[in-house]
C-alpha cells in the first residue's frame, strides 16, 4: 500500500540530493519532500536562526506567468492586493478569493513589466489556482501559463545567505531590497531572485530552470549553506506568525477573520470576493485569529481547544515549542475573546493557562 502511495508522489529535481543527504522523505502536497535531514529539525532551525544560511528546496510550490495587454486589469480582478501599486521588480503578498470571499490561496505577485507578472502559489492549491485563473482570464487579454513543472524554487535564508549567493552571481544582490527581485544569471541560467522568505531572516528565494537546480544546490552547500527540511521551515514560519494555507487560512475564512485586511484593498475597484469581504467587515468577523503564549510548560498544537474564562472559544491553527519563545500558537477564538478574558489551552484534558501576545513571536531580522 505505502509503496503505491510513494510511487504516485511527484519528485523535485533535487530528490536524489535529499536522499544523499539523509533526508527523511515524507508525502507533502503530492510531493515526496524532506521533513528533516540527518542532523534533525532543531539543529536545522538553529542554523537559520543562529547566523548561518539554510537552503530549502521548495520546488513543490507553483509558479504562474501572467502576460498580456490586460494582465494588470486581470490581476486586479483576481487578487486582493492593489497590483497597480507595484513597480517593476517589486513583489507583493496577496491572495486569491472565491466569490464567497474566502481563500482559494495566498500568493506572491511579482511585477516583471507592465504586461508581465509572475505568481508564486502553494503546492497543494496549484491545480485549483491555475484552473481558477485560466477560467477568469477568458474575459481579459491575458494568458495564464503554469510554469511549475519547469521551475525549481530554492530558499536561501539566514544571516550569511547573501554572502553565499553573491559568490554565484555577478549581479549586485545588495541592491535587491526587501520584497524586490531581479532577473539575474546564476552560473549560466536565467533566474529570478527575490529578497523574500518564510523564516523572518534575511535571505532570498531563487527561481531557476530545473536543469540548473542540482548544480546551484551543490554549490550553495559547498559555500556553507545547510539543507533544511519542512519541520524546521514550519518552526521558523510559525515563530513569525506567518499564515499557512490549510491552517490559518482556508476556504472557510475571509481576510477579515485571518487578519489579512492589510493585503485586501477594498478601495482599489472590483475584485472577486470583495462584496462578501466588505459585508463581513461591516457585520464583524465570525472568529478572530490571535497569537498566544503558554504561561506554563507545554506545547500548544494544532487543533487543541482554546478556552476563555473556562468555556471553549476556539482552536489552535498552528502551534509549537519555540526554543526562544516557549509554547506559542496562533488560534481562532470568538471575536469577543480576541482581546479579553482569561485564556487557556486544553492539553490532554487539562487546561494550561496562556496569555495573548503579538506576532512575530520572535524578533524578525528581515531587511526592511
Amino acid at each position: 500500500m505505502s509503496d503505491l502511495t510513494t510511487e504516485n508522489l511527484q519528485k523535485t529535481p533535487l530528490h536524489a540530493e535529499h536522499i544523499a543527504l539523509g533526508g527523511k522523505m515524507v508525502p507533502f502536497a503530492g510531493f515526496s519532500m524532506p521533513v528533516q535531514y540527518t542532523n534533525g529539525a532543531l539543529k536545522e532551525y538553529t542554523v537559520v536562526r543562529g547566523g548561518g544560511a539554510g537552503l530549502f528546496d521548495i520546488s513543490h510550490m507553483g509558479q504562474v506567468r501572467v502576460c498580456g495587454a490586460e494582465a494588470l486589469a486581470f490581476l486586479q480582478f483576481v487578487t486582493t492586493n492593489d497590483v497597480s501599486k507595484l513597480s517593476d521588480g517589486q513583489v507583493q503578498y496577496s491572495a486569491l478569493l472565491n466569490a464567497q470571499g474566502t481563500f482559494i490561496d495566498d500568493i506572491t505577485t511579482y511585477k516583471i513589466s507592465a504586461n508581465e507578472y509572475y505568481l508564486c502559489i502553494n503546492a497543494a492549491n496549484r491545480h485549483k489556482d491555475v484552473a481558477h485563473l485560466q477560467t477568469q482570464a477568458v474575459r481579459f487579454d491575458a494568458q495564464v501559463i503554469d510554469e511549475s513543472d519547469d521551475t525549481t524554487l530554492l530558499a536561501l535564508q539566514g544571516k550569511t545567505a547573501q554572502q553565499a549567493l553573491q559568490t554565484l552571481s555577478d549581479a549586485d544582490l545588495e541592491g535587491i531590497g526587501y520584497y524586490k527581485f531581479a532577473q539575474i544569471k546564476i552560473n549560466d541560467a536565467d533566474t529570478i531572485v527575490s529578497r523574500t522568505g518564510y523564516t523572518g531572516e534575511d535571505g532570498f528565494e531563487i527561481y531557476l530552470p530545473n536543469s540548473a537546480a542540482v548544480e546551484v544546490w551543490k554549490q550553495l552547500l559547498d559555500l556553507g549553506a545547510q539543507a533544511i527540511g519542512l519541520a524546521a521551515r514550519d518552526m521558523l514560519r510559525t515563530e513569525m506568525g506567518y499564515a499557512l494555507y490549510g491552517h490559518e487560512i482556508s476556504d472557510a475564512v475571509t481576510p477579515v477573520e485571518a487578519k489579512l485586511m492589510w493585503i485586501t484593498k477594498l478601495d482599489k475597484g472590483g475584485f472577486i470576493g470583495k462584496t462578501t469581504v466588505e459585508a463581513r467587515k461591516n457585520s464583524g468577523p465570525e472568529k478572530r485569529l490571535i497569537a498566544l503564549k503558554l504561561s506554563e510548560r507545554g506545547i500548544p498544537r494544532e487543533h487543541y481547544k482554546v478556552f476563555v474564562d473556562g468555556a471553549e472559544s476556539g482552536e489552535i491553527t498552528s502551534g509549537m515549542h519555540s526554543p526562544i519563545a516557549g509554547g506559542i500558537a496562533l488560534a481562532y477564538v470568538k471575536p469577543e475573546h480576541a482581546a479579553q478574558g482569561d485564556l487557556s489551552v486544553q492539553i490532554r484534558g487539562k487546561l494550561v493557562s496562556a496569555e495573548r501576545t503579538t506576532t512575530p513571536f520572535v524578533r524578525s531580522r528581515v531587511r526592511k
Binding site: V35, Q36, G40, A41, L42, K43, A231, A232, M235, R297, G298, I299, R301, M320, H321, P323, R348
Partner: protein
Amino acid sequence: MSIPADLKYTQEHEWVRIEDDVATCGISDHAQEALGDIVFVELPEIGRVVAAGEAYAVVESVKAVSDVYASVAGEVIEINEALESEPEKVNTDPYGGGWIAKIKMSGDTVELLDEAAYTTFLEE
C-alpha cells in the same frame, strides 16, 4: 542502534531495568531516533499507580506527540525531573540520563523482550 544487553524491552519500544522490585523505565534508542528531537516530556506524578501497558508519560518531538506506556504495574516512586529542562537527554542518552520514571513493581508486566528478542522484533 544501541540495545544494551542488561535491559528488557517492550514492543512499544520502552526499556526497563529491574533491580529488586524497582523498575527504571525509559524509551529505546530506536524510539528516540524514530521520534526525532524531543522538545517536551510530560512526567507522571509521584505516587501514581499505573497498570502494565498504561500510558503514563508523554514525549513530544518537534512534530509529534507520543504516549509512553508503563512496562510494569506499580507505583511511580521517582521521576526524572531533569527532563523538564533538558528533554533532549531522551535523544542523547536514552538508557542513562534520559530515563523517565522508577516504578515500584506490584507484579504484573507487559511482555518483556531480552536484547535478542527485541533485536529480532525490530528487524521484523
